[in-house]
C-alpha cells in the first residue's frame, strides 16, 4: 500500500505547515511562503504534554475561584463556574445552563482527556484505530474555542451591568484562569502532530 500511495516523508519530502508546498526535507525555509520547514512538528509530543499539564493544573483554580462577583445593594455574591450553572438551573434556564455546562465543563475536560489519550496512543495505541483517532483529533481542533463562551458572557455582563451603587458585576480571577485553560489547550492541540500516529502505523505494516 505504501508503494501505491507514497507519504511525503517516505519520498524525502516535507509539506509546509502553512502553505502546504511540498519541498525536500533538507529545505530550511519554504520557497513559497517563507515559513520554517519541519517534516513533523518540532518536539510535538513533549510540547503537547507540557501544555496539557499546565492547562490541567490551571483548570483547578478556574473551578475553585469565583468567575463573577455580583455587588447588589452593598452585598457581594461570588459565583464559580459550576455555581453559576446550578444558579441557572434554579432559575429554570435549563437550556442556558446546559450550554454553559457543556462549554465550561464537558468540552474542556473531554478535550484534555482525549489529547492525553492521543499522546499516549502515538506509541502504544491499537494500530487498527488510527483512522478514528485522526477523526478525534479533527473534532478536538474544531471544538476547542467554543469553551470560551463563559468568559465572553462574564465580559459582556461586566460591561453591561454597571448601574452605580445598585447593581455592579465584576470579573473574578477564575475568568483569567479559565481563559488560560482554553488558550493553552488550543495551543496543545495545535502542537500535536497526527502524522506521528500514521508513522507508527507504517512501521507496523512493513
Amino acid at each position: 500500500m505504501s508503494n501505491l500511495q507514497p507519504t511525503a516523508a517516505s519520498r524525502g519530502l516535507a509539506c509546509c505547515h502553512l502553505c502546504l508546498k511540498l519541498v525536500s526535507q533538507a529545505t530550511h525555509r519554504c520557497p513559497r511562503c517563507g515559513s520554517t520547514i519541519h517534516s513533523r512538528k518540532a518536539n510535538s509530543l513533549e510540547r503537547t504534554l507540557a501544555l496539557l499539564m499546565t492547562a490541567t493544573i490551571l483548570y483547578i483554580p478556574a473551578n475553585l475561584l469565583p468567575i463573577m462577583i455580583t455587588d447588589q445593594l452593598g452585598q457581594s455574591i461570588e459565583s464559580t463556574i459550576v455555581g453559576g450553572v446550578i444558579l441557572l438551573l434554579d432559575m429554570g434556564s435549563i437550556a442556558i445552563a446546559l450550554v454553559i455546562f457543556a462549554a465550561s465543563v464537558i468540552i474542556p475536560l473531554t478535550k484534555l482527556a482525549l489529547l492525553y489519550y492521543l499522546c499516549w496512543s502515538v506509541r502504544r495505541g491499537p494500530p487498527e484505530t488510527v483512522r478514528q483517532r485522526t477523526a478525534i483529533y479533527r473534532v478536538i481542533e474544531f471544538i476547542g474555542k467554543w469553551s470560551m463562551i463563559d468568559v465572553f458572557v462574564v465580559a459582556i455582563l461586566v460591561a453591561l451591568i454597571n448601574l452605580s451603587n445598585l447593581l455592579v458585576i465584576r470579573p473574578g480571577p477564575a475568568a483569567l484562569a479559565f481563559a488560560g485553560v482554553v488558550i493553552l489547550s488550543m495551543v496543545a492541540a495545535e502542537s500535536f502532530d497526527p502524522r506521528l500516529m500514521w508513522d507508527r502505523q507504517e512501521t507496523i505494516d512493513e
Binding site: 507519504t7 511525503a8 517563507g34 465572553f152 465580559a155 483569567l176
Partner: protein
C-alpha cells in the same frame, strides 16, 4: 463548509511520476493553473495528492484518513473579496454604535462592543481584556484587511513583494478568531439579563450578527492550497 456549487468527490489514481492525481480531466470550469501539477501532503496522515485537476465546485478529501485537502471554486477570490469588504464595514458599525441597551428600575445603560474588552481593564484584568479584544475585534479586523489586500492582488493579477507575508499572517491568525463563539455568548447573556431587566438590541448588535455570518462565510470560502497556488503563480 459552504459551497453553492455542486460538490463531488474526486477519485484518485497514481500517475507515472508516482503522484496521486485526480482523474477528472474535462475542461469544464477549468482551473487556470491546472496544467501545472502541484502535490500536497495530507495534513493528518502525510499521504501525497495532486489537487491541480479539481474542477469548479469540486473538493478533495484524503483517501486514507478522510481529512480535507482542498476545494476549487472558480470565482473564490472575487467572492471572498466582496464578503470581506462587507464584513469589515459591518464590524466598523458594530464597534461604533450601542450594542445592548439596558433598563432597570428606571436606570438606563448602554454597552458598546469595545466596552466588552475595555471594562475588564478598569477591573484590573488587562491581560484578559487584551485577549477578548483580540479574539472578537482585532484579529478578525486584521484578517479581513489582509484578506482584502490578498484577494485584491489575486483578482487584479498583480504580484507584490508583501504577498507571501500577508498570506502567512492570514493563515496563522485565522484559527484564533472567536467571532461565532462570542456571538453565542451574547445570546446567552441576553437571556440571562432579560430575567432581571429590560434589554434592547442596538444597531451594533444586528451589525455584529451579520458580520459574524459573513466572517464565517469568508473563512470557509478561503482555500489554503488554492490561495497559495495563486500567490506562487503571480510571483512567477
Amino acid at each position: 463548509m459552504v459551497s453553492r456549487n455542486k460538490r463531488r468527490e474526486v477519485s484518485f489514481s497514481t500517475d507515472q511520476r508516482g503522484l496521486t492525481v485526480a482523474t477528472e480531466r474535462e475542461a469544464n470550469g477549468a482551473n487556470p493553473q491546472r496544467s501545472s501539477p502541484d502535490g500536497l501532503a495530507c495534513r493528518s496522515c502525510d499521504l501525497i495528492f495532486d489537487v491541480s485537476m479539481l474542477r469548479d465546485g469540486e473538493s478533495a478529501n484524503c483517501t486514507r484518513c478522510g481529512g480535507f485537502l482542498s476545494r476549487y471554486t472558480a470565482n473564490q477570490f472575487e467572492q471572498v473579496a466582496a464578503v470581506s469588504l462587507a464584513a469589515l464595514v459591518l464590524l466598523g458599525l458594530g464597534c461604533s454604535y450601542p450594542f445592548i441597551l439596558l433598563k432597570f428600575n428606571g436606570l438606563e445603560s448602554a454597552m458598546t462592543l469595545p466596552q466588552v474588552s475595555l471594562s475588564l481593564i478598569s477591573h484590573g484584568m488587562p491581560v484578559l481584556s487584551f485577549c477578548v479584544a483580540g479574539f472578537i475585534i482585532v484579529i478578525p479586523a486584521v484578517v479581513l484587511l489582509l484578506l482584502l489586500a490578498m484577494t485584491g492582488a489575486i483578482v487584479t493579477d498583480r504580484h507584490y513583494r508583501w504577498l507571501p507575508w500577508v498570506g502567512r499572517v492570514i493563515f496563522t491568525l485565522k484559527s484564533w478568531s472567536m467571532v461565532e463563539v462570542f456571538f453565542l455568548g451574547v445570546l446567552v447573556s441576553l437571556v440571562k439579563v432579560s430575567r432581571m431587566a429590560t434589554v434592547e438590541m442596538g444597531v451594533a448588535f444586528w451589525a455584529y450578527a451579520a458580520f459574524s455570518v459573513l466572517f464565517v462565510l469568508a473563512m470557509s470560502g478561503l482555500d489554503r492550497a488554492q490561495s497559495w497556488r495563486r500567490i506562487e503563480w503571480l510571483g512567477q
